[in-house]
Subunit: 195 residues, 2 copies
Amino acid sequence: MEEKTNKNQNKSEEMLNHAERAVINSIAETMDLYGVTPSIGRLYATLYFKHNPQTLDDMKDELGMSKPSMSTAVRKLQDINIVKKVWEKGSRKDLFMAEKNFFHYFSQFFGDKWEREAKLNLSAINYAEDQLNEILTDEETNEEIKQRAEQDLQQIREYRSYCHWLERLAQSIESGEIFEFLPVEESNSGKDNKN
Amino acid sequence: MEEKTNKNQNKSEEMLNHAERAVINSIAETMDLYGVTPSIGRLYATLYFKHNPQTLDDMKDELGMSKPSMSTAVRKLQDINIVKKVWEKGSRKDLFMAEKNFFHYFSQFFGDKWEREAKLNLSAINYAEDQLNEILTDEETNEEIKQRAEQDLQQIREYRSYCHWLERLAQSIESGEIFEFLPVEESNSGKDNKN
DNA sequence: AATTTTATTAAATTATTTTTTAACGTATTT
DNA sequence: AAATACGTTAAAAAATAATTTAATAAAATT
């Protein structure tokens, strides 16, 4: 009897791990889509299912990798703000927790990148616009070049609109404003949903 | 006189190229942020400034790379729908044009990925949910496992909400609906804008 | 103060990805 | 029909990136 119960417990635990693994794989794979390396994605996804803070040694055991790898990987996750160091009295090892709210995750991951993208491009656009204006006002520029400059100018102005829009999108996600427009709906089970 | 005009034309052309290059670098760098390799980003950015369709040979000359590289790079850009093959009577070489509207670009690039992400994860979530429910209804599962399963379940349900939200975000960008909420503003010059 | 624990950095190795050269197949021209 | 032009695939080479082992530094314990 004891015997049988143990077996079933093992079975349940196995099922649980298996279920988690399915989601872990999927998360890691989707992170890969945006240029997060598989190992780092897998680390995040693994932490996502941990209900208490993890040490570097925990991670290294879990993923079967070296400690320096965990150290650098976890730092990258901290850099994009989807893993945080937590403090807990007792253990003197560093402890880490994953951001589990994917809306926060989304905001951190994309919002930050969009802001960076916008800033970087706006600065290039501004520089280019100055140069192009100078070309256009220079009387000695020939017609062909002027035409190209004119076209470029028009194009990068549209591009500037886009960059500003990106910034505002990032802000509206950061502030939560966007959820007035696109509310988060309570999720019903997968069963009666055709996905 | 002829001499001087030529010099200035060269100067203008040089300035034009320089201006374009600044934006090209910036675009390539930002694409890199999302996992697009530098060469492919650079190719897209280069095409972005071409006002007429380009052949593989044009690209290879422009970037100083081999033709097969251009061939595969341009295919990847076609895969994410930000470069299109165009037809033009006359030349029997393939001709390509970049998507220049960055809102379209954005929609193609992120929208598609978000949809893929949502689909992939929802399928894993549904699978995991079934497994977890089974664990929870199994009377022989011990308490500790049940608790973990319960926590996981709650977490992935929130995750499902996020996936559905992502899908709707993608749709609202695809359909243009989002611009009612976040309108595109005419861009004023960089001068009087503090960027 | 010496030892141990922990995390990080540096150097070396391994693996992966990118790029090229070479070969191939198909279409177009002569 | 032969020759040329074009694009792609395959194999090899080169360049990058990821990972590990070894070394170092900093903190905590004994």
